[in-house]
Amino acid sequence: MKIFITGATGYIGHQLALKLANQGNVVHIIVRDQSSPNIPVHNNIIVFPGDITYLSSIKKAMAGCEQVYHTAAIVKLFSKDPSLFYKVNVDGTRNLLGAAVDAGVKKFVYTSTCGVLGASVKMPKSEKDPRTESFDNEYEFTKFLAENLVKDYVHKGLFTVIVSPSKVYGPGIETHPVSVNWAINNFIKGKLTIIPKPSNILSNYCFIDDIVNGHILAMQHGLGGDKYILGGENLSYEDFFHQLRLLSGSKARIIPAPRFIVHIWALAQWCKYLITKEEPFVTIKGIHHIFINKIYSNEKAKQKLGYRPTPLQEALKQTIQFLKQKNYA
């Protein structure tokens, strides 16, 4: 089968493209920078130069494809140019949906984020739960707008499904300065690890292999216009690093940092940005995100898609092994 994937130079898209190519599918990917080291290499993967913000380039790459996975997005908390979020995450998605209708694509899976669902209160959040707080960053807001577009296209005759990963970790390419993988690597290298205080704040962590499988399962079994959380286990920062310590034997020190310390760090990042124009990965507006519970339920994906997440310890073991090999390489 011919399958079209956007964002194949990103963390999820890269692994997804390789998996689908390994299964014997012909995978069309669209790539902005032909010299990017993150392009997945495989005999079944055909690289098309292009950009999701240019409709003509999408049409060429999508021709003859039955399925579309749209994983491409601007993923960061802050950008010098906020209109970029709208251009790529919203307009880019609109381009792809339109092109998919024209190309006669059978199914379209859109990669969103649990961030659209927002913070949890007491129980893990499910797909239907309302967002309780306003959007405070362009990333989550534009992913929300794009989700609405994707749902709307069901009424325009396109079979669309939304998947929402939480915090993803595991073997793959490094595309962000502060990822879960980065934190794990730091810790197993024995470096000082700073976690938010109180350290019992809960988050949801999911394994990259499960996310890739979840995408494929959503393509196979997802209902049109429906949304599925692809999550892993809910646990506190403290427990997460405790598990890592047990599995890796790391002796790294963990220091819980109260909010005001992180605030100062964010402030320092901002000053650095003003001087060097290097985009900060923590902003003052964004720091509360690490001080609130964000737990999610993957029940719906388990029941409706047959999603079977890898047990936490097994997933962490594989991640540690991968990172250690990479460190020695």
């Binding site: 209109s83 709208y86 251009k87 919203v90 307009d91 609109r94 209160v121 007491k122 129980m123 239907k128 739960d129 309302p130 309780t132 707080e133 306003s134 959007f135 405070d136 807001f141 707008l145 609405n148």
Partner: protein, 286 residues
């Protein structure tokens, strides 16, 4: 759930109404949530029941229709629910030149903002008296103090809410019912409003509050039986300056502020954004 007293909130499915519902739930108040038909209301009620361990009953009705207001009351009565707090929040906003709006839109605005509030207050009056001490919170607007371009009908409906509340407060004082009115400034209440507010000037952008910031102020003001609740320091400052400045200067400043704001009808709390055209959506996105 210590008692079987309930707080009724209209326009509760999104925006400020949703934040008010969540705030009340976090204060362990049982809720009756009224909003336009749609699944979101049930999702919210279900979410509240699971996360805050209070009761939450969803009633889907379009309150621009008088019969529906009466039906809500009859439903509450038939279920033997005792309401001791009434929050008239459902409202229809809009920013447009008078000539740009249709008469049917203005009628809808008046029906929801004025008629539904009056009717609900009247219908629940006896129940509130018998369940005292009770509270009524009406949602006005800062625009009832400022006479803004493009907000003629909306501003006037909110001025009605303001006078109605203050007058009623004096009348019901001895019946154990405290009437409060909250006058918020701009809030990020739904997608169209959020996008619209991104286009407004810097000083007005600074005064914009999130509904989840305003809701705690509203509820604690209500519980303290405040007559008029103005959320936000900047909004309070605006009002203070408003009292000091002579009329001609105010007119100059305000018409200048409103010039930058595109005409859009945005639906304030209760209703879906039906009026955003595809063109406006792409404008917002750009």
């Amino acid at each position: 759930m210590l008692d079987n007293l309930y707080t009724l909130i209209t326009g509760a499915s999104e925006g400020f109404g949703k934040s008010l519902a969540l705030e009340c739930a976090s204060r362990k108040m049982n809720l009756i949530l009224v909003a336009l038909p749609g699944p979101e209301l049930y999702y919210l009620a279900d979410f509240i029941k699971r996360n805050y361990l209070v009761d939450a009953i969803a009633i889907e009705k379009d309150l621009t229709c008088e019969e529906n207001c009466i039906a809500v009351y009859q439903f509450v009565q038939s279920m033997n629910l005792r309401v001791n707090m009434l929050i008239n929040n459902a409202g229809l906003g809009g920013t447009m030149l008078f000539s740009e709006g249709s008469i049917s839109f203005y009628q809808k605005q008046i029906k929801l903002n004025i008629v539904a509030t009056t009717l609900f207050t009247h219908l629940f009056l006896d129940m509130l008296k018998s369940n005292g001490p009770s509270h009524i919170l009406n949602v006005g607007s800062l625009s009832s103090y400022f006479y803004l371009n493009k907000k003629q009908v909306y501003g006037a409906t909110k001025s009605f809410i303001y006078s109605f509340s203050k007058s009623l407060r004096r009348e019901l004082k001895n019946d154990g019912i405290s009437v409060s009115v909250i006058c918020p400034g701009s809030m990020n209440t739904n997608i169209s409003v959020t996008c619209l507010l991104k286009t407004s000037s810097r000083i007005s952008r600074l005064s914009i509050m999130n509904p989840e910031e305003v809701a705690p102020i509203a509820i604690s003001g209500l519980l303290k039986s405040r007559e008029v609740i103005i959320p936000g320091r900047l909004n309070k400052l605006f009002l203070f300056i408003n009292k000091l400045l002579p009329d001609f200067i105010k007119t100059m400043i305000l018409s200048n502020q409103m010039k930058n704001i595109r005409s859009v009808t945005a639906i304030e709390t209760n209703q879906k954004s039906i009026l955003l055209t595809e063109k406006q959506k792409s404008l917002i996105a750009s």
